[in-house]
């Protein structure tokens, strides 16, 4: 295999890994503060991508044609809308069920995911079909020897890294981050220290959902196509990635996301059967990993939840 092809695969793997990571980090954040898994997370991503697309179409129709402006608008609208949606979900569906059995939270977020997915399918114009997503980033490519680096991929990758580093700084260097970590560690102590629990939970859900919105837009820009079912797949993979890395740790989510992408890329290259089976392979890996290491590669300190 020549170097060019190899680097191409690595680049694809990195892009995939970045998207998985953005989703996985959301799962980890929610789990951290509330000890719950929000199964609708993937579908929030879908809604984010579709919100971005709708913004683009809307702005184009009123005559905005500057690409950077469009990109900015798409991102800002998608992020703000999803942050709001995440807060609403937390406030009205997740927090009221805190004292109910964990099963109920699971079911309610699962069903909420279905609601979001079906809303996109039914109420977005022709939402049942895949939608083309505009290329808002420069698509020039730089030739480095045999390797063909597409500029948009490089920008997205850099943006992803910046976001993750930013999130890390937010969590570790700011007062808000301190509060989030305190709530994650011990809710009651955090409350007695004067931290507004509800506000922190809502902010965390807003952050996680905003990351999903970024992931959704990134997904659209990368594949130039979005469809109503993509969030379900990304959600399952992102959740598995979060688990494999060890739920509750940001680094674990990053590790899991890239590991999963690596496995998938290697699987697509190395395994003889057609690429049609790539999703089958991905889900087999999910199940196998859950059988092998249900508590993740970085072991949780307390694993009674498993």
């Amino acid at each position: 295999m020549d170097v060019g092809l190899l680097s191409q695969y690595i680049m694809n793997g990195l892009m995939l890994g970045m998207m998985y990571t953005l989703v996985a980090v959301g799962f980890t954040l929610f789990f951290g503060v509330l000890d719950i898994i929000k199964f609708s997370h993937g579908d929030v991503l879908t809604v984010g991508a579709f919100t971005g697309l709708a913004t683009y179409i809307g702005l184009r129709s009123v005559g905005v044609s500057s690409t950077p402006l469009l990109l900015l608008a798409v991102l800002v609208v998608a992020i703000l809308a999803m942050a709001a949606l995440g807060m609403l979900i937390a406030r009205y569906l997740v927090l009221p069920l805190r004292s109910a059995p964990a099963l109920n939270t699971l079911l309610i977020t699962l069903m909420l995911g279905t609601v979001l997915r079906e809303m996109v399918r039914l109420f977005y114009p022709q939402g049942a079909n895949p939608k083309p997503f505009p290329a808002l980033l420069p698509t020039d490519s730089i030739n480095l020897g045999q390797f063909n680096l597409r500029l948009d991929n490089a920008i997205m990758l850099a943006a992803g890294v910046t976001i993750i580093v930013g999130l890390r700084l937010l969590l570790n260097r700011t007062k808000l981050g301190l509060a989030i970590r305190a709530v994650a560690q011990d809710e009651e102590t955090a409350r007695t220290m004067g931290i507004n629990f509800t506000a922190i939970v809502l902010i965390t859900f807003a952050i996680g959902s905003a990351l999903a919105a970024i992931g959704g837009v990134m997904n659209g820009l990368y594949y130039n196509e979005i469809n109503f079912g993509m969030g379900l797949l990304l959600g399952v993979i992102g959740f598995s990635a979060a688990i494999i890395g060890g739920l509750g740790s940001i680094y674990g989510a990053i590790l899991g996301g890239f590991l999963f992408a690596a496995l998938q890329t290697i699987g697509a290259v190395a395994l003889p059967f057609a690429s049609a089976y790539k999703d089958v392979f991905a889900f087999t890996v999910v199940i196998a990993l859950m059988a092998w290491r249900p508590t993740g590669l970085i072991q949780e300190k307390i694993s009674e939840r498993v």
Binding site: I36, I37, F39, L93, P96, L97, A100, A102, L103, N104, L106, L107, I108, L110, M111, L112, T114, V115, E118, M119, L122, L232, L233, V236, F239, S240, I243, A274, A276, Y277, D279, V280, F283, T284, V286, I287, A288, M290, A291, P294, R305, V306
Partner: protein, 387 residues
């Protein structure tokens, strides 16, 4: 032996009246075609139930069902036969009715896993599909007797389900849910890309025939022409009765008690010497077997299988039935299956929106009535005694 002093048994009458009224209502609902009439009838049904609830007429019904279950079950079977006989020449209604029965069987299987043992399974439709594809393949390529095909369908669903046992047993709650969701997505994608099993177009399934009696031919009793779906009605009804009795007996037996203990508190249950893994495996395998059995028969009834009929959304519909009816209550499952399956067929405007609608209904049920429409009652070991 001296007679134990018993409270007087609850009267049978309220239960019989309830069964008769529901039968009449069901016949009316299935018979009307015009959409305004359907809507009117549905509204009437809802209002009637609410009024009955408000006037406390439902309590005697519940009591007579709780205490005279055997007799009333027989009446319910009779009622189902009456409905089937009323529509003896109507293909569409009978197919719908058979669908309800088989979905009820499958959901009862899910109930064993979900409701008793607490093993989460969000791939119900996948196991249903495994059964259906089994009958498609076996009926097309082999001459295996069709009753045996049903059993093989169930067995295959149980076997393939066993592949998930390790991850399901090693995990709990959300994690186990993830495993089954991944399996549901996996199976659907697999069926779609696999050419041997017909790909996205699916396969035709040959109809059932037992000892030369072809189920797919209309037949006559006396001079009256009967729809061939009546054949399927009979066998589905038998299957449902068998499953219902199995589930009810299971719940009442010490196995059911063990399963409940495991669901409610694994640590406590294992402290009392219950083998958690053993009972979870039993419930998961048995449940999948039942689902596969129903799926195999459903494949033959429908005459056609395709990946799109066995998606994750369909699995969620089964879970919705379970939650709507009341987890763990077989009667609730049957009632909820009627609502969930019949409603979108009669009310065509909501057909397209059914996944959305049921997801919303489940959210509302979970927020406001988490125990479902017919909450599971406490076991009654002594008829007439206090529970």
């Amino acid at each position: 032996m001296p007679e134990v002093k018993q409270e007087p048994q609850a009267p049978l009458l309220p239960g019989v009246v309830a069964v008769a009224l529901s039968t009449a209502y069901l016949i009316a609902l299935l018979a009307v075609e015009k959409q305004p009439l359907v809507i009117g009838l549905l509204a009437f049904g809802i209002v009637a139930v609410l009024v009955a609830h408000y006037m406390d007429w439902l309590d005697p019904v519940g009591r007579s069902f709780a205490e005279r279950e055997g007799v009333l079950s027989a009446y319910a079977v009779l009622a189902a036969c009456v409905v089937a006989a009323f529509f003896h020449d109507n293909h569409f209604v009978l197919l719908l009715f058979v669908t309800v029965l088989l979905y009820a069987v499958a959901t009862l299987g899910l109930n064993i896993e979900f409701g008793y043992a607490g093993v989460l399974n969000f791939a119900g439709a996948s196991f249903f599909g495994i059964g259906a594809y089994t009958s498609a393949v076996l009926n097309t390529y082999t001459a295996v007797p069709h009753l045996l095909v049903l059993l093989i369908g169930g067995t295959l669903a149980a076997l393939i389900g066993s592949l998930l046992l390790l991850p399901v047993l090693r995990t709990r709650g959300h994690y186990a849910a993830l495993v089954t969701i991944a399996f549901a997505l996996l199976l659907k994608t697999f069926l779609e890309v696999n050419d041997v099993l017909g790909g996205p177009q699916g396969m035709q399934v040959k109809g059932m025939s037992i000892l030369g009696w072809s189920f797919n031919d209309n037949f006559e009793i006396g001079k009256i022409e009967m729809s061939f779906y009546l054949n399927y009605f009979v066998i589905s009804m038998l299957l449902l009765c068998g499953t219902f009795v199995l589930v009810r007996r299971l719940e009442r037996s010490w196995i059911g008690l063990d399963l409940d203990a495991i669901r409610l508190d694994e640590t406590a249950a294992s402290c009392f010497g219950l083998d958690i893994a053993r009972w979870k495996i039993t419930a998961f395998v048995l449940g999948n077997f039942v689902i596969g059995l129903a799926g195999a028969l459903f494949g033959m009834v429908g005459g056609f299988v395709a990946p799109n009929n066995y998606t994750f959304a369909d699995s969620l519909i089964m879970v919705s039935i379970l939650l709507l009816g009341g987890i763990g209550n077989p009667w609730g499952v049957v009632v909820a299956t009627f609502i969930v399956v019949v409603l979108p067929e009669k009310l065509q405007t909501i057909q397209e929106y059914r996944f959305l609608l049921y997801a919303l209904i489940v959210i509302v049920v979970l927020l406001f009535r988490p125990e479902g429409l017919l909450p599971r009652p406490v076991r009654r070991y002594f008829p007439g005694g206090r529970a």
